[in-house]
């Protein structure tokens, strides 16, 4: 695992002013250039098993050519978290297969997300700050101990 430059900041449980319906927010706010960024391409390939063709077209093995509005709720949420620092998003729209991508986004920038369930992060070391307590934890065991009581 590469060095992590930043810490993923997570607030567990109810949080004010969070965008809960990330699918709807994405559909009405995303910018075309977000879709073709290398990290977005990687996330879409890994999570949705789909390939970005260009800013307006994605190839899905299930749906064929489709618009970005048909991406999964998890990928939409990841792309918002990566590209819209003005808002905090409900990352509980993401499955556990999105956990490593949250950590990846947080490698390069400050990221704050809200989780309303206990997401399974990868085994091994990571840096997550539980904003409810301010404590930084570095493995799954410590994360359960620190955050489990809030969700």
């Amino acid at each position: 695992m590469g060095e992590r430059y930043c810490t993923l900041n997570i607030f567990y449980g109810d949080m004010p002013d969070v965008i809960l319906n990330t699918k709807l927010f994405f559909n009405n706010t995303y910018q075309d250039r977000w879709i073709t960024k290398p990290l977005s391409r990687e996330m879409i390939r890994a999570v949705d098993k789909s390939e970005v063709v260009d800013e307006r077209a994605i190839w899905s093995p299930v749906f064929g050519y489709m618009s970005s509005t048909r991406l999964s709720g998890g990928v939409k949420t990841l792309i918002l978290i990566d590209n819209d620092p003005a808002h905090v998003f409900n990352a509980s729209n993401c499955g556990d297969n999105c956990a490593k991508w949250l950590l990846r986004i947080a490698e390069k920038k400050k990221v704050v997300v809200n989780l309303r369930h206990f997401m399974e992060f990868e085994q091994g070391e990571f840096k997550i700050r539980v904003l409810n307590t301010g404590k930084v934890v570095k493995n799954a065991h410590d994360l359960i101990y620190e955050a489990g009581r809030y969700v």
Partner: protein, 142 residues
Amino acid sequence: MCHVEVSNRNVVYRLDLHKRITLVRGNSGTGKTALYEMMNDYTDFPTDSGINVSGDKPCAALSYWYWEHQLRRLHDCVVFLGEPQYYMELEELAEAMLRTDNYYVLYTRENLPVFPEDDVEVCEMKANGREHWLTAVSSERK
């Protein structure tokens, strides 16, 4: 148990529901949202949507804004809900749901202590190409 099938030109969902409340979780990209959106379209326009729905009971999606009105009219159906966190009156909704004889399919990763444990099955959506189905995760709510 209750079996329903939902399909269009791209996908088919074959769902076996063992309890009254099915909480659907699992990885992103497995088609949970697509099913809910199909059921929404089917509820608004059963014929015009072109969506095929068959099985043991009629199916419908619950609207965020008109759920009280809808629940008064839905009996012995399979009812699909989006993320329950958007329903501001979750406890009222849960109580109303439990007063009916419908089956419910909810997409949520949150714990919902408002439902009796015996009435709940937690499932994951699985997909292989256009085929989608549910598998039970555990007899306990996670």
